[in-house]
Structures are given as structure tokens and as C-alpha cells.
Symmetry: C2
Subunit: 356 residues, 2 copies
């Protein structure tokens, strides 16, 4: 992978990271599939479609199930506590179930019609199934953890609950910001911390908790995951405007088309100066425009150029680097095997350098 | 309360039951309110509207929060295990949160516009808030239980998960049955056991588990709750057709208007004979009719009369008595204080005799 990336100049050791992601997928996928198979019909089918295991007609499919960063982190998390990677599997799958519960519901709430290059569940199977299967995945996550019946599983479930509540808070903020003309950089970061940081943080602590780590260790690992999540989201926000459609699977200027108040936009508006003011006027007019849907490529490109001119692109790239730095720093506070520390570092590099 | 009831000839000692329900409400309401206050804005407001604490304009309201049978049961459950009623409070509130999570989502999925004499949340605050606040109540239920941090709380949470999964299965069945011409009595009972029995069962075991009861005791208490739930639902199905609108807060022939395949309908269709066949033909024609929404009182009354003539009303009343009997029987298998056994018996009588 060439690092034609918005935030970093280095090339991450992607071979190692690819192997880590692959291990996360390989160890968690059978357990995830078995869990989904527990669902009553037709929820099992709808879930299988969502995960990309079958297509809309029910035929087996080799769909894109996402990067699977969370399972990889949950397994490393167990190893960080000195336990075997396998101890993290129920945590990896529980986090993945909660992540996908939120995707199912958010896509419906936001009216998003595409995810991972395919029609979203509510488009294919209707809103009721999107709600119901989301609920079912949520409940399944707790089933998987609590059936372990250990004190550690109870603690892991508690952390998952805290993360899930933040996830829901973040979605509530996201929805409420849509109706506001201005959102501060701090509000945007808080929302992204809730929507992306909290569950990534949980992924990095849940394996350790299942492996017997104390709360202090788990909290420190969560700090790494939280900053990693914010770095991840900053890069996502850059890709949402300047990403290559071939890599991202989204339209050009995707976030601008959706009028998303993402970090580059919010930072550009907060920067002040001529470009910032011109951008503010343009976006305020866009919000009232009836022609927005028929805007040309050039009109979006003009907005993207203003965001860049006002410094929103550079600020967000710096923010990704800042959060990456905080994440690596948090790792220093935990005693863990050398190899695990290296791999968590490589994963952090990968998240900031990734093209999609 | 006069027992102009469909299933029973006796008058339950309603003074005692009223006191029990009142205690359940009084002990659980402050904890429920404090839990809802934890939600971020505007979810706290939407939830407060759903629970009837404020009206659609945000003014304090003394709305109908439901019968609160579940909290009353959860407190008795703790006492059944020899613990103080207070030990059941987190369980009572967690069950109430899950119950209301399911109401929020089901009302949206089913397109129901009225609940407890008021507009439903999705009508007032929109579908996204109904989904989001439902999710938040679900997560809050686990927060409340797992923050106790005890082994018992983990076991209680596990039982709540099992019940929630059945609740979701029941809703999935309910949705799929809508599109089918025929549903068997067994399928209908299974669906009602999932939708109503499972969470009532959990209410009756969760207090005991929090109070230190072993799994056998909890399972037996769940058997009582499960049969109680089925009795409750059978009475609900009778009231859904023949209930007095003033008491039920629903329209006349409410379930017939909604084309619900409830127990009396399904039993009447399964009975065979002339009235049964005539009913089957009518309902099959109704399913294809474009005029259904403009049907007169008389047309629904004619269908109700056929259901009764085919024996569906009497069969359902008998089913309520059968399930009531099983519930009382299950109580014999648990050793518990005499007063608690009497109160659980009175509650069972009340559920079958209630007019709404």
C-alpha cells in the first residue's frame, strides 16, 4: 500500500497489520457466525445479509465485512494482559455485534442507502427488520458474554454497556447537530469520541478484562483505544471529503453531499479569515437551497477548496497525528509483552495511514 | 371492581393487589426516574414523554405509566427468596426498562399511533428518536444491573438477556404472522409466550436471583411468571375484541380492526364447523379488501359474533383459566414465606380478572 495518505508520511508495516487483522477475522468469524445462527428466522437471514455472507437473494456471497479492526484489537487486548489471544474471542464478537447493531440502526435513522458497497438492510428488508435485527444483535452480544458466567464476564459486560451508552449518546448528538447551523470543534470531537472512540476503547480493554486484567490496566488500554478511535475518525473525515471513491466505496465529496459537519468543515469554520467566512456564507446558503441535490462536481470541489484554504484539512490531519501520539503514549503506562506493544503500535500507524 | 370479566366468576381481593402494585410503583419509580435522568438530552425528554411524566409540549404530566405489574412481581420475587423487597428494585427497574424499550420499537414497527391514551413516541418525536431512545433504555437496563458488580447481578443480567431475546423472537414471529393467511393455535401460543411470557417470567425470577436464590428456585418462579404471562395475554386477547373501550382505552373491536391473529381468532379458525368456515372465508376476503378501513361497527360485530359462535371466545377464556392454574401450581414447587405465596396468588387472580 502506497502512503498517498492525508495524515502521514511514513509507510506502516502493513504486512504485519494485515496478518493481525486476518487473525482477528479468522478467530472471531466462526463464533460470530454461530451466534448469528442462534437468531430465529428470518432474523438470521437478515443478519447474514448485513454481514455480507449472503446477497439480497439469499445466495452465498463473499461480501465485504469491514476491516475488522475491533476483533483484532480485542485479541491483542487479551494478550496485553498475558492471556492467550483466544481468551478475547467472546469480547471480540460481542463488540462486533454491538458495532453492527449500531450500524443497522444508524443507517435507518440517517436514511443511508449504501454500506460497504451494498444496499443497507432497511433498503433491502425494510425498516422493521433493521430495527428488530439490530435489537437482536445487541441482545446477542450480552448473551455471548454473560453465558461465560464468570466475574470477569460481568465486568466485561459492564464496560460494553458503558461504551454502548456512549455510542448511543454520540448518535443522539450527531442527529441534533444536523439541525444546527454551527457546531464547535469541541462538540464535534466529543461526538466522535462517543461514536467511534468509546467502542474502539472497549475493544482494547475487553479482552484484557476477560483475561483477568485489573481495572487500572483496562482503563489505560481504553485510553489507547479512545485516542485511536479519534485518530481513526479524523482520517475518516478526511477521506469523507478527499478520499478516492475507488478506495472508499463512497461518492466523491461524500460528506459534503450529506452536509456532514465533520472535523475539516467545523475546523475550517472556526478558523476565521476570508476563506472561513466565505465557506460559512456558502454552507448557510446551501442549507436553505432547494437545488443542493443537483449541485455539480465543481460546486463541491469549490467548497472542498475553501475548507482546505481555511486550514480545515491540515488541522484535521494534525489532529489525527495528535491523537495517534496520545494513543502511543497511553501504551507506555501499561506493562505488556514487547510483541503486543509493537503490534498495537503498528495497528495505530495503520489506522492513521489507511486509505479506507 | 366488579368482575364483569371474560374469564372468571370470582372477585379477586383487589385491595391487596392495588397495594402491591402501588408498592411496586412507589419503590421503583424514583430509581427509574433517576436512571432516565442519566440519558443525554434530548433522549431524557423523549423517554419522560414515553413514561407519561411530561406531555408532548414538555409540561409535567400525570400520565398513565401502565399497570406496573412487573415491578410488583420483581419485589415479591426478592421476598420469595427470603430477601427484603428492596433487593429486587434494580431488577424491577431493569425489567421495566426492557419492557419499555420493546414498546418504543414495537409501536414504530407496527405503526401503532396510540399507547396508554396518548400519541406514541414516533408520532410525536419521530422514528429516529423512537429507535434511539429504545436503544438507550435497553442499554440502561444493563447499566443498572451490572453496576451492582456482584455475581448475582451477572446472573440476573443473563436471565434478562434470555428474556429479551425471546421478546425479540416474539416480535419477529408477530410480524411474520401478519403476512400469513393461517396461523396455528400452537404458533400463536408460542409467539405470546415469547412476547409476554418471557419478560413476566424474568420479572418473577430477577428479584430472587438478586436476593441470592439458586437457579432451581429461579427457574420455578419463572414457570409461574411464564404461565401468568400467557394467562395475561389470553385475557388481553379477549379484551382486544370484546373489551369496553372506556376501560381499555382502545377502539371497539380493536384487534379485529388491526387484523390481529390473536388467540380467539386462531382458535375459532381451528375449531372447524360452519361458523369457523364462514369466518375463514370472511377474513380471507377481508385480507384482500380495499374497503376494510371503512367497515362499519356492524361488520366488525358480525365477525366477533362468528368468532364467538365458533367457540374462539370460550376457548380463550378457558385457556386463561388453564394458564392461571399452571401458574398457581408452579408456586407449590417453591418454598417461600406464606404471605408472599398468597400475594403471588392474588396477583395471578388479578391478572386474569382485570378489565384492562
Amino acid at each position: 500500500m502506497t502512503p498517498a495518505n492525508p495524515a502521514f508520511d511514513t509507510v506502516a508495516d502493513t504486512a504485519d497489520v494485515t496478518a493481525l487483522l486476518e487473525r482477528g477475522r479468522a478467530l472471531s468469524a466462526p463464533v460470530l457466525r454461530a451466534a448469528v445462527d442462534r437468531l430465529a428466522s428470518p432474523m438470521d437471514t437478515v443478519a447474514a445479509y448485513h454481514f455480507g455472507w449472503i446477497d439480497a437473494e439469499g445466495r452465498p456471497s463473499d461480501g465485504d465485512g469491514g476491516k475488522a479492526v475491533r476483533p483484532a484489537l480485542a485479541l491483542l487486548s487479551a494478550e496485553a494482559a498475558g492471556a492467550p489471544a483466544e481468551a478475547g474471542i467472546p469480547g471480540a464478537v460481542a463488540v462486533e455485534l454491538v458495532h453492527n447493531f449500531s450500524l443497522l440502526h444508524d443507517d435507518l435513522m440517517d436514511g443511508d442507502e449504501q454500506r460497504r458497497h451494498r444496499d443497507t438492510v432497511w433498503k433491502v428488508h425494510g425498516p422493521a427488520q433493521a430495527i428488530l435485527v439490530g435489537d437482536a444483535l445487541f441482545a446477542l452480544a450480552y448473551d455471548l458474554l454473560l453465558e461465560l458466567g464468570t466475574v470477569e464476564a460481568g465486568r466485561a459486560a459492564r464496560r460494553l454497556t458503558t461504551a454502548t451508552r456512549k455510542l448511543i449518546d454520540g448518535q443522539a448528538q450527531d442527529i441534533s447537530y444536523e439541525h444546527r447551523e454551527r457546531v464547535t470543534v469541541e462538540e464535534c470531537l466529543e461526538m466522535e469520541g462517543n461514536k467511534t472512540g468509546a467502542l474502539l476503547a472497549c475493544a482494547v480493554s475487553i479482552g484484557a478484562v476477560l483475561g483477568g486484567a485489573d481495572d487500572r490496566t483496562a482503563d489505560t488500554l481504553e485510553a489507547y483505544g479512545y485516542h485511536l478511535g479519534l485518530a481513526f475518525q479524523a482520517v475518516d473525515d478526511l477521506l469523507g471529503i478527499w478520499g478516492d471513491p475507488e478506495s472508499t466505496g463512497k461518492q466523491t465529496w461524500s460528506d459534503l453531499r450529506q452536509r456532514k459537519k465533520s472535523l475539516p468543515v467545523v475546523a475550517a469554520l472556526a478558523a476565521g479569515g476570508e476563506a472561513s467566512e466565505r465557506l460559512g456564507e456558502l454552507l448557510a446558503a446551501d442549507a436553505k437551497s432547494n437545488d443542493f441535490d443537483s449541485f455539480s462536481e465543481e460546486e463541491f470541489a469549490a467548497r472542498a477548496a475553501l475548507i482546505e484554504e481555511a486550514g480545515g484539512r491540515e488541522w484535521t490531519a494534525q489532529e489525527a497525528r495528535r491523537q495517534h501520539g496520545h494513543a502511543i503514549e497511553a501504551l507506555h503506562a501499561v506493562d505488556m509483552p514487547h510483541r503486543v506493544r509493537e503490534q498495537l503500535t503498528e495497528l495505530a500507524d495503520f489506522v492513521v495511514v489507511r486509505k479506507r
